[in-house]
Symmetry: C2
Subunit: 391 residues, 2 copies
């Protein structure tokens, strides 16, 4: 299936006239196709409950060909369903009634390749140092393992994620709520230039379009759809990042959240996600992210504590060691009574412990060596630590 130039121009006009994700228009385009839908808008005919007259105003002095020419001049292109560059992942949006009519794309990578192994990292604009560091670290780790980082170019978590990916030489995809030629926010002009030089800026809105409040939220479904999973790093209770997570869940993508201090209002949204949605997975490092989104069989190495010398003792010898007083010396019989073990077993254990240098014999009986006491001190708290393999 190839996209005709008439269809491409019609899709450009659709993207200019409509707001994405509006169900009445989605239904109509599915029914009559993009070219007829645009003709209906221009004719100001009725399209169900859609306010066609208002939409037609947006096409008064624009046509699709002009948008395509303008885009080509700035090195952008319109990727449509049916194009080789169109990621099948975007078709999943049809399953939730939020069809994407086409995507303006600017940058050197084919969109479909950039999204083949991609994770979205999103979060609050008012990021703390903690959140920004984590977002950047995760992005660096993903880029190093060959994964694309997708985000929204906003202040805070988004920017940290893009920067981390770029720093590790990875491709990063910025999904914008304005035209792909608009650097928004303005302070991110430099970041934007690096993104389109090394990765991609993509948007449903025509070149020159300004961001609008509702566009950020509708845009979030693209961030979710283009990636195999979404990680929310920091989010206030009303953060838009949670809408990205919601879309990801509806699209059967992996939803992940990074916890933080419960005293931080900017982690409250992450904690609420983890409480409210049983499909949200708590992640603390890149391996845990990849365990979710990677091919089956890629499991994160399970986190584990340090190995201590006493871990190497068997349970019997370990029990004998526990019965040896720390400071005073004790006779074998006394140690056996404390341990609740037979004298012969205790004698064997004491010999093994003496051989390992943890205890020594004295006139008054067995006592701990300096090494033995140091080992006990290394234990953060007596009995506070589990034997290896206990859990």
């Amino acid at each position: 299936m190839t996209v005709t130039s008439a269809e491409r121009a019609a899709r450009a006009e659709l993207l200019r006239a409509t707001e994405p994700g509006f169900s009445g228009m989605v239904r109509h385009v599915r029914e009559v196709g993009p070219e007829q839908a645009v003709a209906d808008i221009r004719r100001r005919g009725r399209i169900g409950s859609v306010d066609v007259e208002a939409l037609s105003l947006r096409l008064l002095d624009h046509d699709g060909e002009r948008d395509l020419t303008a885009a080509a001049q700035l090195g952008a292109r319109l990727v449509c369903p049916g194009d080789e560059e169109w990621p099948a992942a975007l078709d999943d949006l049809g399953g939730v009634g939020l069809d994407c009519f086409g995507l303006w794309v600017r940058g050197p990578l084919p969109l479909v390749e950039a999204c083949e192994r991609a994770v979205a990292i999103v979060g609050t604009r008012a990021a703390t140092e903690y959140g920004a560091t984590i977002a950047a670290d995760l992005a660096v780790g993903l880029a190093e393992r060959g994964w694309t980082v997708i985000s929204g170019m906003a202040y805070g978590i988004d920017a940290a994620a893009h920067r981390g990916s770029l720093a590790a030489g990875g491709p990063t995809v910025a999904v914008l709520a304005c035209g792909v030629d608009v650097a928004y926010p303005k302070a991110h002009r430099g970041l934007y230039e690096r993104v389109i030089a090394n990765g991609l800026a993509v948007s449903e809105h025509p070149p020159g379009a300004a961001p609008q409040r509702t566009r950020f939220l509708v845009r979030n479904r693209l961030i979710a759809a283009l990636s195999q999973g979404t990680v929310v790093v920091e989010a206030a209770l009303r953060s838009g990042a949670r809408s990205t997570a919601r879309h990801a869940g509806e699209l059967f993508r992996h939803v992940m959240a990074v916890p933080g201090p419960i005293t931080s209002s900017l982690s409250a949204g992450c904690h609420q996600l983890l409480r409210d949605r049983p499909d949200t997975v708590l992640v603390t490092k890149v391996d845990e992210v990849l365990e979710q989104v990677g091919p089956m069989g890629e499991f994160a190495e399970r986190a584990r504590g340090p190995v201590r010398r006493r871990d190497l003792l068997g349970p019997t010898v370990s029990r004998v060691l526990d019965a040896v007083p720390v400071m005073k010396a004790a006779k074998t019989e006394r140690i056996a009574a404390t341990a609740g073990m037979r004298i012969d077993a205790v004698s064997a254990g004491l010999a093994a412990l003496a051989a390992s240098g943890l205890i020594e014999a004295s006139d008054a009986g067995w006592r701990m060596t300096t090494l033995g006491r140091a080992e006990r001190r290394a234990d953060p708290g007596r009995g506070d630590e589990l034997p290896l393999g206990w859990w």
Copy 2:
């Protein structure tokens, strides 16, 4: 069913001779009863795989009557299955083969009453300021709502939990790995005195018994069993607090964990619990704890962000507001094209916004008032915040 004095003395001897939770002895006591089991130990007869000779050493110069008399002198008592004070909750331990043969109890409250509404708060001894504050805050909140706080009297989280409960005048139960007359660690002598004056110290070990490494872990099952739910506040990857959580899960109690910074190794155990065990609930405040352990119908008020003036606008008027430029003025037609809405709807919206003081008319068209701009600034980031009820 009343407990005979012979049985009570036998249980005292069982608790002295055996280490709790040892399956061979558990089976034997179930089979022949406590009196016969003690006779078998004294006779050094075989009890399956149990090393009876070693256990008999512990009874050489002790008998149960003596322990009971000594306990009575320090105001302690032995609570046995069949006693009014025996909590039925402890019988659940039989279901997992970890029977409790009896509990030494010291303090003014009946054990069964103290545990009727009880939450365990546990965690690392090496608590951070963050963890200690949270443990104390949760304990205060639980005490204020009439809940008993159960913990293990250790440094760190345990001590903070007991102190929080005491500070709010609540009863607190300390489950010890040593005799109920032993203040361990020594630095907690003052805390220990306050616990036995206002709450309870309980233990399976006879008066005078010293703590041993393995006893802390076996003790943890009592903390889990006596409470309706266990909250892990801070725990390293090998923290013993996680064994309490494991027991709680096996006993069908609620398991809860408090998240923290992923950069803190002392929150790593909490995060691993939340990752590994799908039945672990993330909690951030006392209401969320009570939502788990409280009677059905007690739901935590859902956390929500601040309500802003623009939340009070309808979606149409809100959309018009988004189309009004922040700094420059714009004519109605321009605003209609930006919003993609009919002129008449936009005019009505502009009138409503002007009436609310968010915008004003000027010669060049409609523009935002100082109030309108302040409202927009109050939004932590344009589009970063979800409309109320969106989620």
